[in-house]
Symmetry: C2
Subunit: 192 residues, 2 copies
Amino acid sequence: MSMERKTTLPPEAKRVFKGEIFEVYQWPQALYDGSVATFEKLKRADTVMVIPVTEDGTILLAHEEQPGKPLTLGFVSGRIEEGEDPVQAARRELLEETGYQGEADPFLISEEQPFSKMDWNVYLFLVRKCKKVAEQSLDPGERINLRKVTFDELVELVVQGHMSYSSFSDRILRAKLEPQKMRELYELIYSS
Amino acid sequence: MSMERKTTLPPEAKRVFKGEIFEVYQWPQALYDGSVATFEKLKRADTVMVIPVTEDGTILLAHEEQPGKPLTLGFVSGRIEEGEDPVQAARRELLEETGYQGEADPFLISEEQPFSKMDWNVYLFLVRKCKKVAEQSLDPGERINLRKVTFDELVELVVQGHMSYSSFSDRILRAKLEPQKMRELYELIYSS
């Protein structure tokens, strides 16, 4: 798959700082009264999120701990490394964080820029027909326990507020209000 | 009201950059295998969000345009200036963005840190018994049209996905699933 990376930085933006995770860009921006101000925006490596589904329909979630952060329950996720495309990153993160691999290709569900002041894309993939092929291989800054759930259990975890916020958990919540949308979500995850 | 500002920066964090909006902090963090990595977090001025309610129960929303950003429909909001406390900032932003002023004191509904890698508090206030006392007084980088809605219209805007995401819009969505929670929200907004 070839994907053009979306950027929301104007072409005249200049990098003024580069840290471990974040870069800072600035540019002169004309305001509504004709005056000019220095505008600022962050940039960080893009993220992939993965929803792995096994052959029997089980969905794998990541119960994750990181130094200095509360325990969160969410989807498998990680940053896209230099030189990787989103699909490669999705396969790698899935294998590292779960030990699972999909027979099917990662399927792009959505692509978003969650934070307006940050040039940061989040790609959400579904990977069907996953099988365990290895042990987890985690970074020294990660602790991840897998949680295996059914579709209905995932919906209930979102409704009860136990899942980290993501646009997909928001979509599940909205689907809870409309049976037709819930059927579409079910089909998205299970039809091949 | 006196409010201790919550910070999630560890005491040993050092500022390595200060821009127009964002500051960058770093610190050495021990990982699970005993190795040490440089961790990084952003800091920005805290934000107030305000839900103004007039005497006849109308809720004021802000239809806002900023250079280089899509039009958004959300709550009145702005940054807390140097030397201001959240309540003062809520009163000022309400007056500047709407020309309205509340007879009642701003009432704190919630306080959150929406982004784990950012030391940034968002305070959400309800201001009841609002009256128009002046014209809007906007920054040259803002264009705001007021939209007056009923409680039911606000709920419908959230359900239809027309409101910018906030923890309060998420709360409205969840309340839509549980009549008891919706009654509580209604009482929160209208009982004095």
